[in-house]
Amino acid sequence: MTPAETSPVPRTIEELRRTVGGLVGEDPDAISDDDDLVLDWALDSVRAMTFVGGLRKAGVEVTLLELTEAPTLSAWWALISARADGAR
């Protein structure tokens, strides 16, 4: 089980869910789209930064600030999918 830095950009919200599940060390199916990933799932900044770093390496321009401002799967998916389109 490894964090997301080496995995590719998630192509669906489900892939994102699995990736985030790995980040927080919990069962991905337990994470709902609108759960607060920080407060409800204790996502920490280091793991988040690692995730962001991986995305940026793959050309998806997101910032840590943006992700932490709205830390939900749905918000993240919206951001990533929009930016990823730009990268592809």
């Binding site: 793991r47 930064m49 401002e69």
Partner: protein, 1440 residues
């Protein structure tokens, strides 16, 4: 607009903006504010950073960007206003603030200069109440390198806030560069930040978070830290930095991957494990194991868009409880951290400051957490245009204890900083922790990877938290197994600090060394005791004769001969004789109780014994036995093979073995041969005792007339491995055990000493022997001089207890080297005569911890005397470590020092591994000085002397049971015991041995003995007893127990106090709870009473009263009876010395400690003291100093009638000036008081003439005494006698008192206080009562307070009478002159005038004014001045 008047005003009205509102502080700000207030050093609360920009940077644009960004952050520009308890803040518009551009390109080393500049700017004091909260600067270090320096008080920003500022500045710079408008300002206002906090506090989440933390902290966890010093009032830190190499970095990441933890979590786990391992090294018996470490973890605590963007301080430090088990794996710890962090993050907004308040209620003064772990990781790179910025943090925040900061921020090489609070850690500690943590973390992380690799394959469970319960897998390293030391450190503690190898001829023995000295200097003085002295040749000649005789008894290598000879030349002859015979000596201290001596003899089975037969020796021996066993007439016969040493038979008292000192033959009693010793070595080795100074004078050298050597036992010299001496030490199970020390061990010790502390007879060096022979310190005192051919001065028996006798002996005989146990040294330093011992070149201390204050006091008294601190158990040839105190600064703690030659000192954990420098472990010793073991006790020997593979070629180590730690400089610090062995006045005592003795009494069901420090006289033993029968009266029991214990235990081992309990308190695990044992109080020590009502018997004399009061005070008892024995009540030799010193003070004359030993009860002692004088302390004529042939100085009593006050003056006058005080009638018993002054004068003159019939006369008086003195001089002159001196101490003529009202009791009491040297004003305006005055006197330890009711009443009568006499007296003139000493301090009796004397002192007055009050005139300071003036007068020819 209306109205005429208002118009003009409106036209010129200025728009003055309303002031910004006063806002509260955030919770974080409040916490910082209060902490910063307590610490004047503002710099501890300032965070600082340097951003390095490498490339083409437009300085002007950068400056504008920085200024704009800073001005956008409201929080940086607040002004604090104090309102009541808590301050408030007001956002002020940014004033014009400086942004200097500092050009360092011209410096020889611009980088270093920049570092210095930044450091200095960071540390400049900042007071948030008055100064600007931030500073900014740009430093040009090279043409293409600019440093942006910023520092901000923690009240305004934390590390995240600084990075937000940097980001904003970069944003603006980029826009300016591209000539675009920057993105709109996005810092939230301070008000908005406060609103976030308020909203949180009002939300249900806040209550959930609080609930979580209350649960986590109840009960408050034990916080382990790595320092035993308390938190100090400072935030100053030491900082040490180590780089993070690629290996460590990779290992941390790999460990994170392997466990599902982030690498910062691996670091936290590693630090927790490090702390647990470091704290666990001591192995003290009562220690609870460390199974949890509480770290302090700073959390961002920024949730939501406002918080995330706010350049304010929001960081929240919370406790993180990490379970660490030594038998768990590192991976377990990481998983535990990961799980705990996950939970913690969910509740991270609950402020640590509030948590502290909650927990504070549960544990006063408790810390919330231990070491901090601060990981500041990589953030994606900041770019200013296309120039990358690299962040370097200078300071993160205040540190109360330790902080481990790991910086991995972008391209700067990552590093670990250890910050350590200076109150708890030294700079070296910080450095060592830093070096160690880097190595440890890598080992730890690798072990995580290795351990996890052996685990089950990855699956949904693999990353789950709480993988505990996994059985210990094979081959996976546990936390406990990881090595804690860096390789460099390991080398140091095993080899570097222990590089003590010195070649010593392995064939040497004590005898060989002594022979060498003998051959070179046969006629040198060897030993002197009193008037008895011998040369080396004489000593060895006599010893050789004794050796021959002992050999006839079977003495030889491997055999033991007991020696029971008091200190004298004979003692040396005996010891050397035994050694020459090849045997080992077993010293028997004549002061030991007979029971103990018997036990030692039974155990050791010596083939012979040498006992002094000289009159003193035998008498002392017999006395010693008789004193302990007054009812014993016969001692049990000892088993075959041993000698019965010196028992008293019926009348006749014959001692079994004898040594005649001055004649040539030693008479040794016939003894049965021990069956197992019939075979004697017959190697025919040349008799080494047959020496003769080659061609020298050889007095009494063996020659044709000497008795032939015994053919049955040919002389065999001892070999280096043969035992040299056997000394007994306390045994924990009840029996003392004999330590056998071989020659090679003591040879090494003595040769080391001879090299480290060189001595030379030509220099006049002389060594003092005073330590009782049963203590191993005596070994070097006795033999060092003999091997160095330097004279040995033997102190007479008993002298070692009397500091005054020692000082006198040292000063008189020119001793240059002496040993003291620290508690004895303390008494010596206090002894006035010690200052005259300037000939003492060196003092050696050992046996107890040496307090730094004592070293400093000694330096003040004897500045040219070297002090050396030594340490070592009997099991390692006296001493194994040494510390010369010469370079110590005052107050520096005194370590036990560095190992001596060929000796290794190892500080090990309970598993036998070396502990890191600074950590506590058990001290183990290795090397040539180790004893062979315990005589006849292979079980004990094996337990204490263990295999030592670490000790290099040394095969064995001795476990001292002492706790110690290494200092970075290679010296060892002593930290106490693992077990319950204690040192009482330097003597080693196993409390278990005393307990065993107590339990032998059928009336005692349970016993515990501990050492306590909370009583008078230093450390003392207290025994706690549970009686077998609850009804047996404890008082009798204690008394009888004491007597019984004294039969078999040495002085120091008999408890000073006995406490009876219903049951011994136990800990939850069933062990004795020592901390719960109560301090003994009065009731418990009643067992030592003489008669049951003795304590209430009225005193026979004042002296007895004095003695009883003094004993009571020194022994902390409410009352002491006249027949109570000082020593049986718990007094010991040190308290005795103190008692004697106090008696000297109180009585104003010589009192010898021998008197106290001979008469230890108040009634006997008072008699003895009175016998020494002409009468009691209350007689009319009281000699204060007898010696000298000058005309005596007569001192007249003041109003109270007592002359003791002049004792101080007597001491200040030269020794040949006798001083006699005259005291009032009526003190010692009812007597008619004189009704006129003339009648009094009649009486006194008669007494004076009895003492000194013809004159000349010298008189002195203080207060009323001056009036009397003048009257006496007038009378003497009238009678035709010559008066040499009249001295008046603040005394005024009767005329000036006449008109005052008759004195009342109140006034009499005032006078009493004055006499005692107190200012009556001290008792305030309340009317004086007798009780009140007595209380004041008692409080100050005044001897007057010890007076009985009768005596005090008598004094009050006398005071009243004297005051009356004084008012009615009419002075007659005296023709001579007088010295007048005036009390210069302002006084209420303004009418007193020295001029009033003029009509009555025709020769005139010479006045000297002293700065003191009337009452203080007889105190030391003024007395010194008075004494020096008097002396000039008294010693002048004719005196006038």
């Amino acid at each position: 607009m209306s109205g005429g008047v208002a118009e003009a005003d409106d036209a010129i009205a200025e728009v003055v903006p309303a002031p910004a509102p006063l806002l509260p502080l955030t919770a974080a700000q409040e916490g910082i504010w209060f902490a910063a207030r307590l610490d004047p050093d503002g710099a501890a609360f300032v965070t600082a950073e340097c951003l390095e920009l490498r490339g083409d940077v437009d300085l002007e644009l950068l400056a504008r960007a920085v200024r704009t960004a800073v001005d956008e952050a409201e929080g940086l520009h607040v002004v604090l206003e104090e309102a009541g308890d808590a301050p408030l803040q007001r956002v002020a518009p940014p004033a014009d603030w400086p942004l200097p551009v500092v050009d360092l390109r011209g410096e020889p080393d611009p980088d270093a200069a920049a570092q210095r500049w930044a450091h200095a700017a960071w540390r400049r004091p900042l007071d948030p109440a008055t100064d600007r909260l931030f500073d900014e600067a740009l430093l040009r270090v090279a043409d293409d390198v600019v440093l942006w320096f910023q520092r901000v008080h923690h009240l305004a920003a934390d590390a995240t806030a600084l990075s937000l500022l940097a980001r904003r500045a970069a944003e603006i710079y980029g826009a300016l560069l591209a000539d675009e408008a920057p993105v709109a300002a996005w810092f939230p206002s301070l008000a908005a930040t406060l609103e976030v906090e308020r909203a949180y506090r009002a939300s249900p989440a806040a209550e959930r978070d609080a609930e979580h933390w209350r649960g986590r902290c109840t009960p408050a966890p034990r916080v382990t830290v790595l320092s035993d010093r308390p938190e100090g009032g400072t935030h100053e830190i030491h900082r040490a930095s180590v780089p993070v190499g690629d290996g460590l970095r990779a290992a941390l990441h790999a460990a994170g991957d392997a466990t599902g933890g982030s690498w910062p979590e691996v670091v936290m786990a590693g630090v927790a494990a490090y702390v647990a391992r470091m704290a666990a090294t001591a192995g003290r018996e009562d220690d609870e194991p460390v199974d949890e470490v509480v770290l302090g973890v700073p959390l961002l605590a920024r949730l939501g868009p406002v918080a995330l963007r706010s350049p304010a301080t929001m960081v929240n430090v919370v406790p993180l409880r990490v379970p660490v088990r030594p038998d768990g794996t590192p991976a377990d710890v990481v998983r535990a951290v990961t799980a705990e962090m996950r939970t913690t993050r969910r509740h991270q907004r609950h402020r640590g400051e509030e948590l502290r308040r909650t927990v504070g209620a549960l544990g006063r003064g408790r810390a919330l957490y231990g070491p901090l772990v601060n990981v500041l990781p990589f953030d994606y790179a900041l770019r200013f245009g296309d120039v990358a910025a690299v962040v370097r943090t200078l300071g993160a925040g205040p540190v109360d204890d330790l902080s481990f900061n790991l910086y991995d921020r972008g391209d700067a090489p990552p590093r670990i900083d250890v910050e350590a609070n200076v109150a708890r850690y030294a700079a070296d500690d910080a450095r060592l922790h830093a070096e160690r943590i880097a190595v440890w973390l890598e080992r730890f992380a690798r072990a995580v990877v290795d351990g996890a690799a052996a685990a089950d394959g990855p699956g949904p469970d693999a990353g789950r938290a709480g993988g505990g319960g996994r059985p210990e897998a094979h081959g996976r390293p546990t936390v406990g197994a990881l090595d804690l030391l860096t390789p460099h450190e390991r080398d140091l503690v095993l080899d570097g600090f222990n590089a003590t190898d010195r070649p010593v001829d392995p064939s040497l023995t004590l005898v060989a060394l002594m022979d060498r000295a003998l051959r070179e200097h046969p006629d040198r003085e060897a030993v002197r005791c009193g008037d008895d002295a011998v040369t080396l040749a004489e000593l060895h000649a006599r010893a050789a004769v004794l050796a021959d005789a002992l050999r006839a008894d079977g003495a030889g290598p491997g055999r033991i001969v007991a020696v029971a000879v008091p200190r004298s030349v004979d003692l040396l002859v005996a010891l050397v004789g035994v050694l020459r015979s090849g045997a080992a000596y077993l010293p028997l201290d004549v002061d030991l109780p007979a029971g103990r001596l018997e036990a030692m003899l039974e155990d050791a089975r010596p083939v012979s014994a040498v006992v002094a037969e000289s009159a003193d020796g035998a008498a002392a021996w017999d006395d010693a036995l008789a004193r302990r066993r007054p009812d014993a007439t016969r001692v049990e016969p000892a088993p075959v093979g041993a000698t019965r040493a010196g028992q008293p038979t019926d009348e006749g008292g014959q001692v079994a073995d004898a040594l005649r000192g001055s004649s040539a033959t030693a008479e040794v009693a016939e003894l049965p041969r021990c069956p197992e010793h019939t075979e004697f070595p017959t190697s025919g080795v040349e008799n080494s005792a047959r020496f003769g100074p080659e061609g020298g004078s050889g007095a009494a050298a063996p020659g044709p007339d000497s008795p032939p050597p015994n053919p049955v036992a040919p002389a065999v010299p001892p070999g280096p491995d043969d035992p040299a001496y056997v000394l007994y030490t306390s045994g924990s199970t009840g029996r003392p055990k004999g330590v056998v020390v071989p020659h090679h061990a003591i040879v090494n010790r003595l040769l080391w000493q001879d090299a480290a502390l060189p001595i030379d007879a030509a220099r006049g060096d002389r060594i003092l022997q005073k330590t009782p022979v049963g203590f191993d310190v005596s070994v070097w005192e006795l033999f060092w001089p003999l091997i160095a051919a330097v004279p040995l001065e033997v102190a007479p028996p008993g002298a070692h207890r009397d500091p005054r006798a020692i000082a006198a002996l040292v000063a008189r005989t020119g001793v240059t080297h002496a040993h003291f146990v620290p508690s004895m040294l303390g008494l010596f330093v206090d002894e006035p005569l010690a200052a005259e011992c300037t000939g003492l070149r060196r003092i050696v201390c050992s046996g107890e911890a040496l307090p730094p204050e004592l070293r400093d006091r000694l330096r003040a008294v004897l500045p040219d005397t070297e002090l050396h601190n030594l340490y070592g158990p009997t099991e390692a040839a006296v001493d194994v470590t040494h510390w010369p105190c010469a370079d110590d600064a005052p107050g520096d703690p005194v370590p036990i020092g560095r190992p001596v030659w060929n000796t290794r000192t190892l500080v090990l954990d309970p598993q036998g591994r070396p502990v890191p420098i600074g950590a506590t472990g058990e001290l183990h010793l290795a090397g040539v000085q180790l004893a062979d073991g315990y005589l006849g006790r292979p079980d004990l020997t094996d337990a204490a002397f263990v295999p030592g593979p670490l000790a290099g070629e040394d095969a064995r180590m001795y476990k001292t049971g002492d706790l110690a730690r290494w200092r970075p400089d290679g010296a060892i610090e002593y930290l106490g015991r693992r077990d319950h062995q204690v040192k009482i006045r330097g003597q080693r005592i196993e409390t278990g041995e005393v307990e065993a003795r107590l339990l032998e009494d059928p009336a005692v069901r349970g016993a515990a003995v501990i050492a306590r420090d909370d009583g008078p006289g230093g450390t003392r033993l207290v025994a706690y007893l549970v009686p077998a029968d609850a009804t047996s009266p404890p008082a009798l029991e204690a008394h009888a127990l004491r007597r019984r214990l004294a039969e078999t235990l040495s002085d120091a081992m008999v408890p000073s106090a006995f406490v009876v309990l219903d049951a011994l308190p136990l800990t939850p695990s069933g062990k004795l709870d020592r901390r719960a044992l109560p301090a003994p109080d009065d009731a418990s020590t009643d067992g030592a009473r003489g008669a049951p009502d003795g304590a209430d018997a009225p005193p026979a004399t004042l002296t007895e009263e004095l003695v009883r009061a003094l004993f009571a005070e020194l022994l902390a008892l409410p009352r002491v009876g006249p027949d109570d024995d000082f020593f049986l009540l718990g007094g010991h030799s040190l308290l005795a010395a103190r008692a004697v010193a106090r008696l000297r003070e109180a009585l104003g004359r010589e009192v010898s400690i021998g008197t106290l030993f001979a008469a230890p009860t108040p009634s006997a002692l008072a008699l003895a003291l009175e016998d020494e004088g002409d009468g009691g302390a209350l007689d009319v004529v009281l000699p204060l100093r007898r010696g000298g042939d000058r005309p005596p100085l007569f001192c007249l009593h003041p109003a109270g009638g007592i002359g003791w006050g002049y004792a101080g003056l007597a001491r200040l006058l030269p020794a040949d000036q006798p001083v006699v005080a005259l005291q009032a009638r009526g003190l010692a018993g009812p007597h008619a008081l004189p009704v006129t002054m003339d009648a009094m004068v009649d009486d006194y003159v008669a007494r004076i003439r009895e003492v000194w019939p013809t004159g000349p006369y010298r008189l002195l008086g203080w207060s009323v005494g001056g009036v009397i003195a003048q009257a006496i001089t007038a009378r003497l002159e009238h009678e035709g006698a010559e008066v040499d001196l009249l001295a008046l101490l603040d005394a005024y003529p009767s005329d000036q008192w006449r008109d005052l009202a008759a004195p009342t009791e109140a006034q009499a009491l005032t006078a009493l206080l004055n006499i005692a040297g107190h200012d009556p004003g001290r008792l305030g305006d309340e009317p004086l009562t007798r009780e009140g005055v007595v209380a004041v006197l008692r409080e100050d330890g005044s001897a007057l307070a010890s007076l009985s009711e009768e005596s005090l009443t008598a004094m009050v009568r006398i005071v009243v009478n004297n005051a009356t006499l004084m008012r009615t007296h009419v002075h007659r003139p005296f023709g001579g002159d007088a010295l007048f000493f005036a009390a210069g301090a302002p006084r209420t009796e303004t009418w007193l005038d020295v001029a009033g004397w003029e009509p009555y002192v025709r020769g005139g007055l010479r006045v000297r004014t002293l700065e003191c009050t009337h009452a203080q005139m007889l105190h030391a300071g003024p007395l010194r001045e008075i004494a020096s003036v008097l002396e000039r007068q008294l010693s002048g020819a004719g005196g006038r």
